[in-house]
């Protein structure tokens, strides 16, 4: 029985008066890949951004309920957001490497945390790039501008940049939507590789992707969590009619 790294308890989120997340309760196990699926606008990104409090950047956001990260409620006021975001990192829909060199992208996180020693930073570059399968390709072009890489390499670089801050949870918001099918498959392999060391939560509107990579799947619809269960069960014998309709492509 793996322990829960994230426990969401009666969590609500409002953009002003608009309830974007309604009474969500579920738990995420350590070293798993959890997929969040659902039609566009149902609140997947909002939920993901609640895990590392990125919604705090938006004016007028209000939450109720709890999100426990290893037992600590991270949805409450007074949480150290900098420390939280170093533990729970995020990969975005569009690859967004900084317009800096490959090296400076990777060392950004460690430098933010105050690391100055060149040998430690170099080690972080090699380790992170190795984990995302970029070290062999890029080890001789660490001074290259990250924006000159291909989309897939940029997304891998963003993942590497995140791994360099040693997160425990990696949140991914439709990480493959800007990539071609082959690149998508390779990023999926990477997700499976990542779950050995990290916990991965991935938002996707690609049902096959959820089926291929995730251990558990949550289906969201209009701000509610319709069903959360083992991925195999969600895709073969869901208990809700909406889930069945969605995974069989009747709507979405």
């Amino acid at each position: 029985m793996a322990e829960f790294i994230l426990e969401i308890k009666h969590f609500n989120l409002f953009y002003g008066d608009f309830p974007a997340l309604k009474d969500l309760s579920f738990s995420i196990k350590e070293h798993t890949v959890t997929a969040l699926i659902g039609p566009s606008g149902c609140g997947k990104s909002t939920l993901l951004r609640s895990f590392n409090r990125m919604n705090d950047l938006i004016q007028g956001v209000r939450t109720e309920g709890e999100i426990l990260f290893k037992g600590e409620n991270i949805a409450q006021n007074g949480i150290n957001l900098v420390a939280l975001r170093q533990k729970i990192g995020m990969v975005f829909q569009r690859p967004n490497p900084f317009p800096l060199t490959v090296r400076d992208n990777i060392t950004f996180g460690p430098r933010v945390m105050g690391e100055k020693k060149a040998d430690i930073l170099e080690a972080a570059v090699e380790k992170s790039l190795t984990r995302v399968g970029l070290w062999k390709v890029l080890k001789d072009s660490l001074e290259k501008n990250a924006l000159s890489l291909s989309d897939e390499q940029q997304q891998r670089l963003c993942i590497a940049r995140l791994l360099a801050v040693k997160p425990e949870i990696v949140l991914m918001d439709e990480p493959c939507s800007a990539l071609d099918p082959i690149a998508t498959l390779r990023i999926e392999e990477l997700m499976l590789e990542l779950k050995k060391r990290y916990t991965v939560v991935v938002v996707t509107h690609n049902m096959q992707q959820a089926a291929r990579v995730s251990d558990e799947t949550g289906l969201m619809y209009l701000g509610e969590l319709i069903e959360f269960d083992n991925t195999k069960k969600i895709f073969t014998t869901p208990s809700q009619k909406i889930t069945e309709d969605y995974v069989t492509g009747k709507f979405g």
Binding site: L57, R85, F92, N96, F98, L100, L147, C158, L162, V165
Partner: protein, 288 residues
Amino acid sequence: MAATAIQRKEKLIERIFLLIAFSSIFSLFIIALFIFAEGLPLIWKVGLKDFLLSTRWAPTKGHFGIFAMIVSSFWVTIGALLFGGPLGLMCSFFLVEFASDRLRAFIKPALELLAGIPSVVYGFLGVVYLVPLVRDYLGGPGLSLLTASIILGIMILPTVISISVDALVAVPDSYREAAFSLGATRWQTTYMVTVHAARSGIITSLVLGMGRAVGETMAVIMIAGNALKIPLSPLDPLRTLTSNIALEMGYASGMHRQALFATGIVLFFFVMALNTIATVYARRKRIK
């Protein structure tokens, strides 16, 4: 039939606008022509080397060396950049990255007002308040490179701020999001990412600020002391290229007058060089 009448009118209006546009270019051309026609013969007579590199400026005795003024203009410009650059950049960082919308709505018009204050007012304030301060606490005559640099530094603020603010605003929010999501603070995000992304625009703002400082005349005449020598310390008085033209044009004639126009040629190249640098950086940004 009616359509052709309208079309003909449209054509006419188009021509008129074209003419107006050309007349501004034409006047620029005329100005350049006059400066060069008046100034070049003197440079020819004195010799380019003697004109630019001699420090002896005694027009009534036939000595036309402007080196001291070139050096003075150079230092004043650098000085203005040293004061106005960091201040202006910090201001724009604050405005774009930290200030609330309400505060920004208050500060931006205030800055535009700063740009609208006539330079003689800056000079006057400098003479009345800053010059005595420098004289009493730091020594020297007070009318000095330091005083001029501070006042010019303030005068270039609107240029530096408005252009660098535009550059910072143009930086995509996805960079900031990425930085925040990696645990960076606002300030870390600003100096580690945003500034790099906006680098070409920021450099452009500084270069155009320098252009503004080189060309400023009135305030500099009032606060720089106008001594005809190379300043050896920030507390020494100096005379810039523009000051010299303004101070002497009233009574200059003959070769002396030509020499002032020749000084104008030098300024022309100064400003043109700065503008070229600024355009090159601005273009580099667009290519990216």
